[in-house]
Each structure stands twice: as structure tokens, then as C-alpha cells.
Symmetry: C2
Subunit: 200 residues, 2 copies
DNA sequence: ATTATCTATAGATCTATAGATAATGC
DNA sequence: ATTATCTATAGATCTATAGATAATGC
């Protein structure tokens, strides 16, 4: 029943990844350890060889999901800069797309995990600090993407609009209404192009 | 052990109110029926005389909390109009205040319940429809508050910024950072006054 | 007589632990 | 010999139901 050390590491990684996805989809309290381990192809008994507690896994899964998001944004900005396209527009169009809205499990961790995981009053050691670091990283990338128009405050306001629009678009029943929220937020951030692209 | 019909109605109301508060504070899965009934001064056994299921109570508590929020906004706009003040500024200052940020239990239901309660894929009958109605009510009030500058799209974008900023401000550890998010969003919505008030 | 609420409990589920097992890695 | 994973289970908790009780409302 033992497995090579490399395989054990890969198993652990798979659990963290499954947790990041399932926690976003069903909420932390909405997934049990057995389902979590099962999603990584294991049984629940091995859990505590890898993690101190469920909360420990929550912290790790959030960290990974947040880093993935910042990494994605970094690549989008870099690609736009190389192509002499507008990086802000690239970020906003990606973030406010119906695809991103529908893929909660792999989508933005600020929207998909933040509200569920850092509740005022309930202290999960280090979590709020972890989110703060990533909020600043996201805002930093936005500021960079804004170029000459950028400032930390403008970036924080833009990030707020993006996160809020994504969450609201997920709350409503009607697809047209949902789309309208995404488009309205996008238009307000980019000047007005609901169309393909354009320089800033 | 029976109680007057008026008292029974009041008890039911108290349960819905406690649910609205506790669900926002700890998440729907974070509160059990016993705790819920206890917060209304009852024992858990009586629950199913009043509600079909926990999900039934979730729907009712969300509806009540959403209506409370729309009611609050309505009063704020009316008061500002009577006083010839800027209603948009009044809404934004109330919503993006540290007080509102800290009072999750009685604060905006879009931010406090939405992300937890309407998860894509998980269908709780009628809930998403209920949120959609309230999103439109909130946006309608914003549009009205914007006066000549108003449009449905502008209102939806503004609502996105407000909800996103509130949620982000609750995610970070540092008070100064949290305050900065609220202020940056407020400034971007109101022109620039981080100071007392001013016409639009 | 009706019924809102109470106590008690069934049945499911969840986190965490214990001990067995078998393949790795020294 | 070590250890990653497995099966099994303890103990807590949660939703929902059953039956008793006592005050209301006809």
C-alpha cells in the first residue's frame, strides 16, 4: 500500500488541487474529507498523514488557488504587452467572460473562496493575511496594466468592480441579465467597447 | 406549551430574523437548526411546524434580508431627496462605511448571503430568481439616485463596484488596507470626495 | 379539539484516530 | 525499518421525525 515518494507528493498535490476546485464549487463545509480524497483517487484514511486538519488543507488550497489566479493574470498582461494590445482590456475581458463566470471551480479565488472562507469573527490562522497578499498582487497587476492612467486606488476600485460583477452575474437566474451585468461592468471599466478590442 | 397565535407568528418571525443574521455571519452550513431555534428562544423540535425544511427557511431568510436591504436603500434615497442632498453619495457612503463592513449579520444580503447561497449547479428552488429580483431593485434605486447621469448599465456597474469593494474589504487582515479599498471604490464612484459630502 | 412547542431519538454524515498492510528506501 | 495508504470505527453533530404536553380558541 505504500507508494514511491514522488507518487506521494503527486497525490498530495492532487488533493490540494481537488480541494481548491471542490471548495469553490460547493463551499468548504459542502465537501467532506472522504469526497475530497476520493476526488484525488485515494481513501479518507490517509488524509492526516498529509495534512494537520481540514483547516490546514483549506489554507493550502486557498493559497494555491490564489497563486494560480495571480499567475494567470501575469501571463495575460505579459502576452498583451508583447502583442502591443491593451493589457487592461485583456484582463477585464477574460475576467468578465461568461466562461469564467461558469467555471467557478477553477475561476478567481477571491470571488470563489473569499466570501466563504474568511468570515469576520471566524479566525482561520493566516487566511485573511493570505488573501490580503493576493488582493495586493491582483491590484498591482491591474495598476501595471493601466499604464499612465494607473494608481493603486484606481486599481483597487477596478478590482472591486470586477469581483462584484462576477459574483452578481453568478447570483441571477436569467442568462441575459447575467450577461448584462458582466457587459455593463466591462463597459464602465474600458471606456465603452463591448466590442472586440481597442487601445486604451 | 402551546402559545397564542400572535405569539406563534412572532416566534416564527424571530426565527427568520435570527436565520438571516446567523446565516450571514457563519454561512448556511455553519449554523444548525438547534442553534437557530435557540437564538429565537425556542427548542429545535418545533422547527418543522413552521418550516418545510432548512432550505425552506434559507429561502425565506434570504427574501427577508434582501427586502430589508432594498427598504434601507429606499429610505436613504428618499431622505437625501427631501434634504436636497446627493442620493447616490448617500448610498455609496452608507454602503462603503467601515460600520457596514463590520456588521455582516445585518448588512447587505447580496454580499452576505449571495455567494454562499446561490452556487452554480446547486439549485435551491426559487433562490436565484429571488436574488435576481433584488439585484434589479437595487440597480433601479441606484439609477434613480444617479439622476440625469443614470442608466441601467451605469447602475449595474456601480452596484458591482459597491458589492465587490465591500467583499474585498472584509477579506483583508489590515484595517488600513481594508479602509483603502472602501475609500478607493467610493472615490471612483463619486468623482473624488473622500471628504464629507457634495452634490453630484 | 386543536396545535405550538417540548423532549427524545433515529439515521446520516463528518472529522479525526487506531491499527493493519505492503511497498519503498536504506 | 520506515511510511503512505487502507479499512474500521469512535465520537460529535446535523436534519428530520415521533410522541407527549399543555394552553389556546372554538
Amino acid at each position: 500500500m505504500k507508494v514511491t515518494r514522488a507518487q506521494a507528493e503527486e497525490n498530495r498535490r492532487a488533493v490540494v488541487e481537488a480541494a481548491g476546485r471542490l471548495f469553490r464549487e460547493h463551499g468548504v463545509k459542502g465537501v467532506g474529507l472522504a469526497e475530497l480524497m476520493g476526488a484525488a483517487g485515494l481513501t479518507h484514511g490517509g488524509f492526516y498523514k498529509q495534512f494537520k486538519s481540514k483547516d490546514d488543507l483549506v489554507l493550502e488550497a486557498c493559497g494555491q488557488a490564489l497563486d494560480d489566479g495571480v499567475g494567470k493574470w501575469t501571463r495575460i498582461v505579459e502576452k498583451a504587452e508583447v502583442e502591443h494590445a491593451d493589457p487592461l482590456a485583456a484582463l477585464v475581458r477574460h475576467y468578465l467572460s461568461p466562461t469564467h463566470r461558469d467555471r467557478v471551480g477553477t475561476g478567481c479565488a477571491l470571488a470563489g473562496l473569499g466570501p466563504d472562507v474568511v468570515r469576520p469573527g471566524e479566525e482561520r490562522a493566516g487566511l485573511r493575511q493570505r488573501f490580503e497578499t493576493s488582493v495586493q498582487a491582483y491590484a498591482g497587476l491591474l495598476e501595471q496594466a493601466m499604464g499612465a492612467d494607473g494608481s493603486e486606488d484606481a486599481a483597487l476600485a477596478t478590482l472591486s468592480t470586477m469581483v462584484g460583477a462576477l459574483l452578481l452575474s453568478r447570483m441571477v437566474e436569467d442568462e441575459a441579465c447575467s450577461r448584462r451585468i458582466l457587459d455593463a461592468a466591462g463597459a464602465s471599466l474600458l471606456g465603452h467597447p463591448a466590442t472586440p478590442h481597442e487601445g486604451q
